[in-house]
Amino acid sequence: MIANRSIRALPYLLTLCTGTVLLISQDPYWIQLVLGASLLAILALSWDILSRTGQVSLGQAAFFGIGAYASALCGDLGWIVGWLMAAAVCGVTALLLGLLTLRLRQVYFTIATIALSLSFKVLILVFGTFTGGASGIAPPMIGDGNPNVQMCAVLVLVLLSILASDLFLSDRYRPAFFMIRTKPSLAAVSGIPIVRTKVLAFVVSGMLAGLAGAAYAGLYGYIVPDDVFALSWSIMPLAATILGGMDSTIGPFFGAIALKVLEGVARNYVGGVGYQIVYGVVMILCIAVLPKGLAGLLAAVREASSPRHRATGAGVTERVL
């Protein structure tokens, strides 16, 4: 299982190394890139955590926006309090919405998450006097604008997300999550409390997405509803995770990086918002051809070339991811 453990350590190591390198080099172009990829990685991991229970959430945009605004509305208390508020508000929202909709057929939960983004956007506009309405609001900048503090804060958040994802892949949670997804009735008669488990995943997922939103708000110093509640914040993590490979930590993590690269390429060819086609294309190609994403492809290649496989001709008996 040693190879297993080193693969699982990769995201942590990569994050720490990147942070160290950037702290030394101080290159603003790369810092921007890494921050963008980091936010996507956090969102992708948060999406995958819930997806393992069989629920497809399109609510990352909602929590992203809620987190951004929660931290913005606490402007006077500083960015750290802002982040805590973001996590708290998102956690409670996920709890309430989850208790209501996680017992429904999957598609209705997904619709509810879409409705969540739109509803909160309307709320922000309706309470414009407090929230700045359509013209936006200025949240507190992380570390008063110090790019080193900003980058470290975001990378700490990335590490937190990796940890959360790994926690839910542990022996206690992973089998339970998968059983809920594959056959909930079987999971229930094995003692798993279905709604409670799904709600737990949803709450953690929502909190991480909310923290990502708070981080985003604190990086740029100004947010508008049309930006932070944009549906693309829900679609990107979906595409990233499917590209990288679902049901793992390295999948969403490296998928986020890969998607950022593809996005950059697509942007060069298609102006405006059209580059978002790449998300749909990625999703379709992967599901049709590579259901386990790039990670699955790598695992298959490893299996095919491993001496054990050639000797026995047997299938994989070891958990590679």
């Binding site: 017992r103 429904l104 409705a115 499917i242 749909g280």
Partner: protein
């Protein structure tokens, strides 16, 4: 509000219900037979709307011809999509199937946004039928046409399902797929057919959208969410239920936008509230299968 206002609102609601029912019946047919929740169904409606818009506005096709072309084109596209992509996904689990149709939906919406810009367009059609006068209220001719076309399509679908060989096979597959296979039903063909028919109804529904609503890339998403609300009300897999659910939804929306301040901008909020109510009051819907997991 007076009686004629009430009648006006109701008549408009019936027209919109016809449109909604057209969208929902294809969705519920596809689900009933293949058990795939086709999130991309709305995008076929949207494409049908765009086809109708361009044929009518830029090429001067008569509206009825546009309906036929849109329906046929979407049936064909559905066929291609199903055979090349969705059929493959049938072998995977429900989770992946849903993600597949979601991905398809995202792709088509963005493609439309790139090709035709996200702006809303209106066909500005002339009234193809005389307006209907009833008790002081007026139903515009085009709304009347929507009711007639959707009623015709619904009847055709109902007759097909009831009396033709393929219709019966589809109902068998809908009810018990293993039993259907044992009875010699060619499941692949029936699955494909359900998507082809679903695509056709989506195309026709798209024409109706172009006739009385605005045409823009996100119109499909708007409608498909309402379609799901309708399916929750009427029960999954039930086409009759789709009609009743559509009426309930559109009448509710009509009354909300007339009587509730800012009601018009609720978007699909009414649909969402109805879903929640169905969950609380009658989770099994009124006809078909429950929306509870």
């Amino acid at each position: 509000m007076d009686i004629s206002g009430l009648i006006q609102t109701s008549m408009l609601a019936v027209a919109v219900a016809g449109l909604y029912a057209a969208v929902a019946s294809g969705l519920t047919l596809e689900f009933g037979v293949t058990r795939i929740v086709n999130f991309a169904h709305g995008e076929f409606v949207m494409l049908g709307a765009f086809i109708t818009f361009f044929l009518y506005s830029d090429y001067g096709f008569p509206f009825v011809a546009c309906v036929a072309v849109a329906g046929t084109a979407m049936a064909l596209l559905s066929y291609v999509v199903f055979v090349t992509f969705l059929a493959r996904v049938l072998k995977q689990d429900e989770h992946n199937q849903f993600l597949a149709t979601l991905g398809l939906s995202i792709l088509i919406v963005n493609l439309a946004a790139v090709l035709w810009t996200p702006d809303a367009r209106s066909m500005h059609p002339e009234n193809l039928l005389p307006a209907l006068q009833l008790g002081g209220a007026t139903l515009p001719g085009n709304n009347l046409l929507v009711i007639l076309i959707s009623a015709a399509m619904y009847s055709a679908l109902a007759l097909f399902m009831r009396y033709t060989r393929y219709g019966i096979q589809m109902r068998m597959a809908s009810s018990d797929i293993d039993l259907a296979t044992l009875c010699g039903v060619n499941v692949d063909r029936v699955f494909t057919l359900s998507f082809v028919i679903g695509g056709f109804t989506a195309g026709v529904a798209g024409s109706l959208v172009a006739l009385i609503l605005y045409v823009h890339p996100l119109v499909g998403l708007d409608l498909v969410i309402r379609a799901f609300a309708i399916v929750a009300l009427g029960g999954l897999g039930s086409i009759a239920g789709a009609v009743i659910g559509a009426l309930v939804l559109s009448i509710s929306e009509g009354f909300v936008s007339t009587f509730v301040p800012e009601g018009g901008s609720w978007g699909f909020g009414v649909a969402f509230v109805l879903i929640v109510l169905v969950l609380i009051i009658r989770p099994t819907g009124f006809f078909g299968r429950s929306i509870q997991a």
